[in-house]
Every structure is written in structure tokens, then in C-alpha cells.
């Protein structure tokens, strides 16, 4: 079978495996396909571990100001007195002490731990927002193209193909500074909120295509199914058929696509910041932290280590959870 994994998940959702219901659970209330998937997910240890890790990260990111208060150090506080004459942190392993758990940045002397917490907040916010926007656009476009077919399908598919053909990085490099200049002068400071919106916008402009294609394919295979025809024969309108009949059958692939989109936006945002067109100083950001630490790779490896490992764990956990989610929603796919 040459199904993409996500499509496979959707297929299986349409024909849910007739799981033998355990005797003790055989109440009058039946278990929905969603409940069955949740039960499978609960049994998956990888999924549970990565889920816990992600929840931890999200809680840390959400509680960043609170943590800063408890920790006693703000993200933009500088500790020049703890740096030597060359701007390198005093002490061992990048200046790790009881006050500064992950050490200090060379030159500026800011605390790495608290900047990472804040950087995570930026990253996760942009990634989640971008994934939400792209999924919403993709689902709307895909469902319309797939269900209406004809000229609507042709136009939407054509736009999708064009968007897929544009090289993302080059386009981002061209657009992001231009948009900044359009709204703010060359000497003005671009506010962080504006940078965040531009980033989400550029991810949305390019990211919706894959979801749209996925959903379109699913809808095409679903729209000829007889339960949709039954609704039509009963006099149902377009809205009912799209949102009541089709959408519940699309949640599985949409969920999987969403959970795999978030880590790709985390790395994407880090990459853009690394290239200097993402979030600018002084807002904390993962990608730029790694970018700034590169010159210190030999002299202060701890500076590279902590943000690098954290972003690695974050993305890995998201991807593992996405895979586990797909397995849970599609019990027939073999590992």
C-alpha cells in the first residue's frame, strides 16, 4: 500500500477496527472511535512519556513570568560582574552556579535558563499559532475543493501547487525585512508582536498547502460514501454535509497533521531566527540563541549545549507524540 501515513490513519478511521469490547466495559453506552483511540494511546508508553514532557514544556513556557519571579532573575538582566575581562563567564561550564543554573551568556552576561524559558514561550506560541492557522486554512480549502469539485477544486488545487512551488526560505528572506520596512522606518525599532505576526503570517501562507491536499483527498474519498448521500437524500444542506457528516471523519488526519506541523514550525522559526530574519533582540528566542552561541562553540560549549538539547527534546517529543497519535488512530498500520 502506497498510502501516506496520515492517509492511512484516515482510512482506518473510516473503517474502525471492530475491537472486541472487554466484558467489563460492555455497558449500554458504546465506545466511540475516538474513545478507542484514546485507550490505545494510553497503553503506548512512548506517547505517554513524550506527552508528559510536552506538558512540562508548555507549563514552563506559560508560567515564564512566574518562574522568573521565583528564580529571582529576569530575562534581560545582565550580570557583567560575573564575566571576566574577555566577556566570558567566570567559573566552570559557562558559569553554572546555584543562582544561574545553566550559566550565563558570554559578553552580555544574561542568565541562560530564564532566557530559554522565555525563548520557549516565543517558539511554542509561534509554532502553535502557525499550526492552528495553517490547519484552519488547509481544512477549509481542502474540504471545499474536495466536496464541491469542478472549477472550485481546479482553482484551489492550482493555488496549492503554486504555493508549493515557491521556495519557502528565499521567499521568507525577501518578504520579512520588506514587510518590516513597509510599516516601520529603517531606524525605527520593530515591535516584537509585529515580528511574531509576520512570522505566523509567512508560515500560514506556505504551510496550509499540505493540509489542504490531505483533506481534499480524504473528502474526495468520503463524499461518495453513502452516508453523505443519505444526508443529501434527507434534504441536508451543504453546511450539514460538510461539518456534520464529513468533518467528524476528518479529525484523525487533521490531528496527526497538526501534531506533526508544530515541531516543524518550531524548527522553522528557529531557522529563520538563525538566519537573522526572525525574532530580534531583546526578545528571547531559541533559534537566535543557538545562532549567537556558534562563535563560542570552542570557548564556551555550555552556551550551545543547553538551548540545543532543549530544542532537540522538544521537537523529538512532538514528533514521537505525533507518530503515536497516528498509530492510535490507525491500529492497522504496522510499525
Amino acid at each position: 500500500m502506497s498510502l501516506s501515513p496520515v492517509e492511512g490513519a484516515a482510512r482506518a478511521e473510516m473503517e474502525p477496527a471492530a475491537d472486541p469490547v472487554k466484558p467489563d466495559e460492555q455497558g449500554i453506552v458504546g465506545r466511540s472511535p475516538g474513545q478507542l483511540a484514546w485507550a490505545r494511546l494510553r497503553r503506548d508508553r512512548t506517547a505517554m512519556v513524550s506527552g508528559v514532557v510536552l506538558v512540562l514544556f508548555v507549563v514552563l513556557a506559560l508560567a515564564a513570568p512566574l518562574i522568573a519571579k521565583l528564580y529571582g532573575v529576569g530575562p534581560n538582566e545582565q550580570f557583567q560582574q560575573l564575566l571576566d575581562g574577555n566577556g566570558m563567564p567566570l567559573g566552570y561550564v559557562g558559569g553554572i552556579t546555584g543562582d544561574h543554573w545553566f550559566g550565563l551568556e558570554p559578553r552580555l552576561g544574561r542568565d541562560i535558563f530564564i532566557r530559554m524559558i522565555y525563548g520557549m514561550r516565543t517558539s511554542l506560541f509561534i509554532a502553535f499559532a502557525a499550526a492552528l492557522v495553517t490547519t484552519a486554512i488547509g481544512v477549509a480549502a481542502g474540504i471545499l475543493a474536495g466536496f464541491l469539485g469542478g472549477i472550485v477544486d481546479t482553482v484551489i488545487s492550482w493555488i496549492t501547487d503554486v504555493a508549493l512551488a515557491l521556495p519557502f526560505l528565499i521567499f521568507a528572506l525577501a518578504v520579512v525585512p520588506t514587510v518590516g520596512l513597509r510599516f516601520y522606518g529603517p531606524r525605527e525599532e520593530v515591535p516584537p508582536a509585529f515580528q511574531v505576526i509576520v512570522l505566523i503570517g509567512i508560515f500560514a501562507a506556505f504551510g496550509w498547502t499540505s493540509t489542504a491536499r490531505l483533506v481534499r483527498g480524504q473528502v474526495i474519498s468520503l463524499r461518495e460514501r453513502e452516508f453523505v448521500e443519505a444526508a443529501r437524500a434527507s434534504g441536508a444542506g451543504l453546511g450539514h454535509m460538510l461539518f456534520r457528516q464529513l468533518l467528524p471523519n476528518l479529525w484523525a488526519p487533521i490531528l496527526v497533521a497538526f501534531s506533526l506541523a508544530v515541531p516543524s514550525y518550531i524548527t522553522g522559526e528557529a531557522a529563520l531566527s538563525f538566519l537573522g530574519i526572525g525574532i530580534l533582540e531583546p526578545t528571547a528566542d531559541f533559534g537566535r540563541m543557538i545562532f549567537q552561541s556558534i562563535p563560542y562553540l570552542q570557548t564556551d560549549p555550555a552556551y550551545v549545549f543547553f538551548p540545543g538539547v532543549t530544542i532537540f527534546i522538544l521537537v523529538l517529543a512532538f514528533n514521537l507524540l505525533g507518530d503515536a497519535l497516528r498509530d492510535a488512530l490507525d491500529p492497522k498500520s504496522s510499525r
Binding site: E13, M14, E15, P16, A17, A18, V21, I28, V29, G30, R31, S32, P33, G34, R225, E226, F227, E229, A230, A231, R232, A233, S234, G235, A236, G237, H240, R244, Q245, P248, N249, W251
Partner: protein, 340 residues
């Protein structure tokens, strides 16, 4: 035949052509259904039989307006619904429902049984006395399911039970006519009998009319009052069940009936073997469409299309120039190989 005033469904010249395109150029059309005339009276069951690809299902879908007819008229309870829009159709939807062939595809796997059966009520904004839930449970009971299973999902049911859910959904709006598109052909034989008996009980109790599409002639004989035999988009013979089954006039009907396996007869008693394939509906034969496979075909059959009229004193209508007239099992002339 029924008089026009008392027929519930009146179909005249019903036609469906599917255009075939090669690139941008139209290249003819598949004439799936090519001019059907029939009537269904209230409380009556009309069986629509024929081999695969003869247009049975297309006809059924046009009747419930899932497909737009190319030409012809469909009158339901005296009103022309051939091209009625959704709003105008709404009151009629309640009287005209469909049961699908595949009970695994016709129920939304993400909805509970209660939601599936309640769908027609909700879509039409109907709030029955006692609430939707009560009505759904009544319907489930009516089709022989446990009303407590309201909250279960389709994957927890067997094929026969699923088909019962589909029937309950079709009954939700208290229709007068149900188009049953091969409702039992996806089921085991033992379950088929149960579902057929259920449909017959419902017909008796609720005074339903059915258009029963099937390819299983034994099932049709068991269930239908009248039978229409289709071949390549046309009705070749239509009449009361006993006339069709005991004194078929059209050679095709005769060949079909001879193909029913008979457990009481020993050996291949009078089986008529048709040679060749069904011609393509893209370019059907001139004159009588069955002539390429008919053992009685004459030159006249190629030039003149036989009308669907009473023949040789039979009560049924047959579209054949040289109808058979003996009881089944006796073929009036020897089968002759006909070159295509």
C-alpha cells in the same frame, strides 16, 4: 395498470445520459437509463431487476433526486419533482426516502446510532411529540433493534443490524415511498430473509410503497407485487409478479428466470445460456437492444424498436416483436446462435 390519479409515483420517459469526454471534446454519452415509464401505487412494491450495469441503481438515485435526470418527468403524489430545488423538495423528501446497498458505507462511523437515525428529523427541523430521542427509540424498536443501543456506534453492530439502522433512518420521516437499492445483497442469506421479512412487515403496518432494486430474482419474487425487468437502460417487460414469473413474454426475462438455481429440479432443466456480453451503453444496438444476444432475433429487430405494450394476450407489457407465450420452461423456438 393503475389509473393515473391513484399512482403515487409516475415516471415518464426518464433518461440519464452521462457525458463521456476525451480531453475537452465530448465523445458521446453513456446512456445509462434511456426512457423509462412506470407507475407505483400507494402501498405497492415494484421490483426493478436486471443484470449489472442495466441502470437500476441510476434509476433509483434519480427517483430520490441524488442524480439529476437528463430528460423525462418524475411525478410524486401528483407533483412534478423532476427538477424541483432543495427548498421546494423539502416537504417531499419526507415522503420519499432511500435505503442503501452497503450497510458498512451508509452509516457515518463517527455518529452514534441515535444521531444517525435522528439526522433526517434534525435536517428537516422536525421535533416530534415526546422529543427526538423518544421517536428514535420507537424507530429502533420498530426495526427490531434494542432501543437501549441508542448511544452505540455503527462499528459495534453486525451487517444485518446496520441495515436495520439504515431502514430506521429511512423511516424516520414517515415516508410513503422507499427506494430500496439492493438492500439485502450485501448480507448473508440467513440475514437477508430477516431483513426482507422486516421490510414486508413494515410495508403492511405502515402502508409503504417500495421501489425494490435487486438482481436476486428469488428475493424479488418473495417481496414484490409487480416486477420491471431492465436491460441496457430500458424496461423490456413489466407486469404483475405471477405473470412475469410464470408466463414471461420477453426472451430476456425468460433467460433471466431460467438462470435461477432451482433446488427441486434435477440437472440443468431448460437453462437458457445467453452468449456474448451486454453491449456498451455508449453505443447501444439499433432497434431492440437485446437482439445481439437473442435467439429469436430477426431483421425487423435491428430496424424497428419494439414498444412496451401488451403482447399476445398477456396482462404484462413486453417490448418484443416476437414474444414468448408459453409457461416458463418451454421455449417456443429453438435457441439459435446469433453472431454479434
Amino acid at each position: 395498470m393503475s389509473t393515473e390519479t391513484e399512482s403515487l409515483l409516475r415516471v415518464r420517459g426518464l433518461t440519464k445520459h452521462f457525458p463521456v469526454r476525451e480531453g475537452f471534446r465530448a465523445r458521446g454519452a453513456v446512456r445509462a437509463v434511456d426512457g423509462l415509464d412506470f407507475d407505483v401505487r400507494p402501498g405497492e412494491t415494484l421490483g426493478l431487476v436486471g443484470e449489472s450495469g442495466c441502470g437500476k441503481t441510476t434509476t433509483g438515485r434519480m427517483l430520490v433526486r441524488l442524480l439529476e435526470p437528463t430528460s423525462g418527468t418524475i411525478e410524486f403524489a401528483g407533483r412534478d419533482i423532476t427538477h424541483a430545488r432543495r427548498g421546494a423538495l423539502r416537504p417531499l423528501r419526507q415522503d420519499l426516502q432511500i435505503i442503501f446497498q452497503d450497510p458498512y458505507a451508509s452509516l457515518n462511523p463517527r455518529h452514534t446510532v441515535g444521531r444517525i437515525v435522528a439526522m433526517p428529523l434534525q435536517v428537516n427541523g422536525i421535533n416530534p411529540p415526546g422529543g427526538i430521542r423518544k421517536r428514535v427509540q420507537e424507530l429502533l424498536e420498530l426495526v427490531g433493534l434494542n432501543p437501549e443501543h441508542y448511544n452505540r456506534y455503527p462499528h459495534e453492530f453486525s451487517g444485518g443490524q446496520r441495515q436495520r439502522i439504515g431502514i430506521a433512518r429511512a423511516l424516520a420521516l414517515r415516508p410513503k415511498l422507499i427506494v430500496a437499492d439492493e438492500p439485502v445483497s450485501a448480507l448473508d442469506v440467513s440475514i437477508q430473509a430477516q431483513v426482507i421479512n422486516l421490510l414486508r412487515d413494515l410495508q403492511r403496518d405502515l402502508d409503504l410503497a417500495f421501489v425494490f432494486i435487486a438482481h436476486d430474482l428469488a428475493v424479488v419474487r418473495h417481496f414484490c407485487h409487480r416486477v420491471a425487468v431492465m436491460y441496457l437502460g430500458k424496461i423490456v417487460e413489466i407486469g404483475d409478479r405471477d405473470d412475469i414469473y410464470q408466463r414471461p413474454q420477453h426472451p430476456y426475462t425468460r433467460a433471466l428466470l431460467s438462470a435461477i438455481p432451482d433446488v427441486t429440479a434435477l440437472g440443468p432443466a431448460g437453462r437458457i445460456r445467453l452468449t456474448g456480453d451486454v453491449p456498451t451503453p455508449l453505443n447501444p444496438p439499433s432497434g431492440c437492444r437485446f437482439r445481439t444476444r437473442c435467439w429469436k432475433a430477426q431483421e425487423r429487430c435491428a430496424t424497428e424498436e419494439p414498444a412496451l405494450v401488451p403482447r399476445d394476450g398477456g396482462a404484462q407489457l413486453a417490448a418484443c416483436h416476437y414474444p414468448e407465450n408459453g409457461p416458463i420452461g418451454v421455449v417456443t423456438s429453438e435457441p439459435v446462435e446469433v453472431s454479434q
